[in-house]
Symmetry: C2
Subunit: 155 residues, 2 copies
DNA sequence: CCTAAACAGGATAAAATTATCCTGTTTAGT
DNA sequence: ACTAAACAGGATAATTTTATCCTGTTTAGG
């Protein structure tokens, strides 16, 4: 598993908030947790970390919620999200658990894994939040497994 | 982190045992734990799982230890090792934690991550244990961070 | 046949991660 | 002012992962 559960929830939360923010809407904890199908109190903790990390903005009080300045959305990367939640995340570590991933003292899979790591880092740095948020809007990608409403809900 | 600590220790243990087996030597728990710099009782548990999973063979009693039939070494993959230790390991899961990684209902990073997953699976399936064990023998790769002996141990 | 070295496995403990609870503060609207 | 909806944050609980302990069994060698 590449990311911790907290990071997975965090990424999905931010993407939902980003999508809503593009439409000028704030998102409440309740909406976020329901949308991403995650426990609300845990999502609350994660959103707190994201606020402290300046990834999202929170507004207290009635009609409050979370949002991201639309002009900021394109600046945010998965790296930003993940590091706001998991200070210790490090995609640069050795796949076999050596304390240091090193070119001069490589583990047996270092050379193969190096290319994979590069791709992971690149994915995290170059992932375009606004493009992802727009795909969510278009319905070409999703944040949960099952459609919210059954398809056959006629009558 | 791609693998759990247990898997990391397991991979390193198997590689050490493989290297020793190429030289006709059995490895004791004490040797393995010391070589890979991991807690011996935890390594013991992991080795038990590897024995049950038919990755390594154990011999009880004095002058016992763990070994791998040299002819078998080239048959073992990282996938074998990891699944013997972590039944739930699944490199095919969604990077964002959706219950199912799906082409028809993809998460926002599915398409980028798909290629990475393919590389991970390929690394795990095609990694050549005998080549790695031989590199260990040659000293072109390593299982721990620091040389066992200080370099300046003259006199 | 006795001993010491080695693995096996159940039970338990410690640490980290995930999840929940409760109380407090903020704020729009009345 | 009062109220209800919303986030903040400390404390706690549950679960999973990591690590240890203890007792038992096996076996080569004297
Ligand atoms: S040393 Fe293991 S991945 Fe680089
Ligand atoms: S659906 Fe998320 S990686 Fe495939």
């Amino acid at each position: 598993m590449l990311f911790t559960k907290a990071c997975e929830y965090g990424i999905r939360s931010v993407l939902f908030v980003a999508k809503q923010s593009l439409e000028g809407k704030r998102s409440t904890l309740k909406e976020i947790a329901s949308e991403i199908e995650a426990p609300q109190p845990f999502v609350a903790k994660i959103m707190q970390q994201l606020v402290r990390g300046n990834v999202v903005v929170s507004v207290k009080g009635i009609s409050g919620g979370f949002y991201i300045e639309p002009s900021q959305i394109k600046e945010i990367t998965l790296t930003n999200i993940v590091f706001a939640i998991d200070k210790n995340f490090d995609s640069k570590l050795c796949a076999m658990g050596l304390k240091e991933c090193s070119e001069v003292r490589p583990c047996p899979i270092h050379h193969t894994y190096k290319a994979i790591k590069k791709d992971i880092i690149s994915m995290m740095d170059k992932s375009n939040l606004i493009e992802m948020a727009e795909s969510l809007k278009n319905g070409t990608c999703f944040l949960s497994n099952l459609p919210k409403q059954p398809i056959n809900n006629l009558q």
